[in-house]
């Protein structure tokens, strides 16, 4: 268990030792800042109150692109350079390695989300009555757990490849597919369609979390995704022994 923390700590620091941390923060914070400012300006000109969660929607879209950036190197690079051999000949279990890597990426996403949390705070200064803090908190907490689920998909694909670019596109493809199958499933019926509809991940965010509602079903969905993909990732790392 302690190993999870050791691995996570190193990996988190590595984000800042490479340009990845800064580039992805830039990719996220710059458009969000522009978007937030734009909304604020429009509202002040034409009246009306911007929603505290207005930037959240854009953040979710951006996640589709930067989550794979954060996860692509995690295990792919270890496999490419062979450093994984030293990790796995130390007394470290496969799941500890995978969980540590995921935790590091989660830490970084949490940091980004924390920064974007300044937007509702700023908004609070300009609006009367003040914003619904509870609802905003739920929306942000939802972002955290959805981000965590997306990261676990990325960690899994990073175990499959020794090539970061391959890991990036595989992750993004799956995330996009889980998003876009919304459209073809809209009018479909039957048990298969129902099951597939359940897998559409934006639904589990946009139906409740963003409105400040915590739904147990959504929580179960995201937690299941995390557990499933981390489990698969650990199995995948382990399978190298049998190949």
């Amino acid at each position: 268990m302690k190993n999870v923390w050791t691995v996570a700590k190193r990996e988190f620091n590595m984000y800042f030792a490479s340009p990845i941390a800064y580039v992805s923060a830039f990719l996220v914070l710059l458009p969000l800042g522009i978007y937030f400012y734009g909304n604020l300006a429009v509202s002040s000109q034409f009246g009306g109150t911007p929603q505290p969660t207005q930037t959240v929607g854009l953040f979710v879209v951006l996640m589709l692109f930067f989550i794979p950036v954060l996860t692509m190197r995690l295990l792919a690079e270890e496999q490419r350079t062979g450093t994984i051999e030293l990790l796995l000949t130390a007394p470290v279990r496969e799941w500890e390695l995978v969980a540590g890597k995921w935790l590091a990426a989660f830490g970084f996403v949490a940091l980004l989300i924390f920064f974007t949390g300044t937007y509702p705070l700023i908004l609070n200064n300009y609006t009367t009555p003040s914003i619904d803090v509870g609802a905003a908190l739920v929306a942000y907490a939802g972002l955290l757990i959805m981000g965590a689920a997306m990261l676990s998909v990325g960690v899994f694909f990073s175990t499959l490849f020794a090539n970061q670019i391959a890991a990036y596109f595989a992750t993004m493809a799956v995330l996009l597919a889980l998003w876009l199958m919304q459209t073809p499933l809209q009018n479909a019926t039957g048990p298969v369609a129902n099951f597939l509809s359940y897998l559409i991940f934006p639904d589990h965010y946009y139906n409740n979390f963003i409105n400040g509602v915590v739904d147990l079903g959504d929580l179960v969905y995201f937690l299941s995704v995390i557990v499933l993909f981390l489990f698969l990732a650990a199995r995948s790392v382990e399978s190298r022994r049998w190949r």
Binding site: R10, M14, T83, L86, T89, A90, P91, R243
Partner: protein
């Protein structure tokens, strides 16, 4: 310390090592010798618990590598081939990270200690990406020593080092070898000859010879060549020598000088001396030419030459050996 019984490792269709049985005792330095692709790295990966054996039983430091892999890993230090390290970390960061993974108490002091041992302390704050091959090798070695392992497994520890560094590493290994069991692989025979108490020669996934380096030359390669010089022209000695048991070939070089090839496993010098003297010749010189490990190696690996050429060709494409 290391007990390997009937180890076979297959990658899909390809058999990398076949039916290896060997052991290493406590405090022994054992060398793995073989051409590239002979199965040295595979065997070492199995010993460290990185890969499970396909067949057979491997016990390291008293634990089965298959069922008690974690216990094995706690007691084994490993230096993989090519020393994979994190280039974006400094030496001290890296060693500290590995020490933390191995849950070493009083980490800071131990890391300092190890850096002294492998002589890298003055580069502690350098990024690994900026280190030369030799220095990286030392960091890798330091990493393997952190937890004071009972067994050290070193894959090509001398690879890519200049002669001065090789000397240093050899000294270091001799020092460490006093109270650790060391298993190292190399394809440079001189290193094995100098360092190892016992050498296992591997070819095409199988053990072809195993013994102390000096005895290998006697036993495997037929005791080598013997030079004999007698006073005079030695007329008739050629036939006498040829009749001796254990002598496979006699060469008369010039008058009174002979070169004898002997059969494996036996020192026939006493018989030769007796035959010469009782035959009435005057013995001037009798000298055994020791085959170097190099020659043995070439002999052993060449014996398999016809089908081995095919095996090596197939190996590149991962075909069956």
């Amino acid at each position: 310390m290391i007990q390997v019984e009937h180890l076979t490792k297959r990658y899909g269709e390809r058999t990398a090592v076949r039916d290896l049985t060997f052991h290493a005792n406590k405090g022994e330095i054992v060398g793995f010798l073989g051409p590239n692709g002979a199965g040295k790295t595979t065997t070492m990966r199995v010993l460290t618990g990185y890969m499970p054996p396909s067949e057979g039983k491997v016990v390291v430091a008293g634990y089965d590598t298959l069922t008690e892999s974690l216990e094995v890993r706690r007691r084994v230090g490993y230096l993989p081939e090519n020393v994979p390290l994190y280039p974006e970390m400094t030496v001290v960061q890296y060693l500290d990270f590995m020490a933390e993974l191995r849950q070493i108490p009083d980490r800071e002091n131990r890391v300092d200690e190890v850096m002294e041992t492998v002589n890298i302390a003055e580069r502690a704050e350098s990024f690994i990406s900026n280190l030369s091959k030799g220095l990286r090798q030392r960091v890798g070695l330091g990493q393997a020593l952190l937890h004071k392992p009972e067994v050290l497994i070193l894959d090509e520890p001398m690879d890519g080092l200049d002669p001065q560094q090789q000397l240093e590493v050899k000294q270091l290994l001799r020092e460490i070898g006093k109270d650790h069991t060391i298993m190292l692989s190399t394809h440079i025979l001189a290193h094995a000859q100098e360092l190892c108490e016992r050498v296992i020669i591997l070819n095409a996934g199988q053990i072809v010879a195993e013994d102390a380096p000096e005895r290998l030359s006697l036993q495997i390669a037929g005791g080598g060549r013997i030079h004999l010089i007698v006073d005079g022209d030695g007329t008739g000695l050629h036939e006498t020598l040829q009749a001796l048991p254990g002598i496979t070939h006699v060469n008369s070089i010039v008058d009174g000088r002979f070169e004898l090839e002997t059969a494996p496993g036996k020192d026939v010098r006493p018989e030769i001396a007796r035959a010469v003297v009782t035959g009435g010749w005057n013995l001037l010189e009798l000298q055994r030419e020791k085959l170097s490990l190099e020659e043995i190696f070439i002999q052993l690996t060449a014996e398999l030459a016809p089908d081995e050429a095919a095996a090596n060709g197939g190996k590149a494409e991962g075909g069956a050996a």
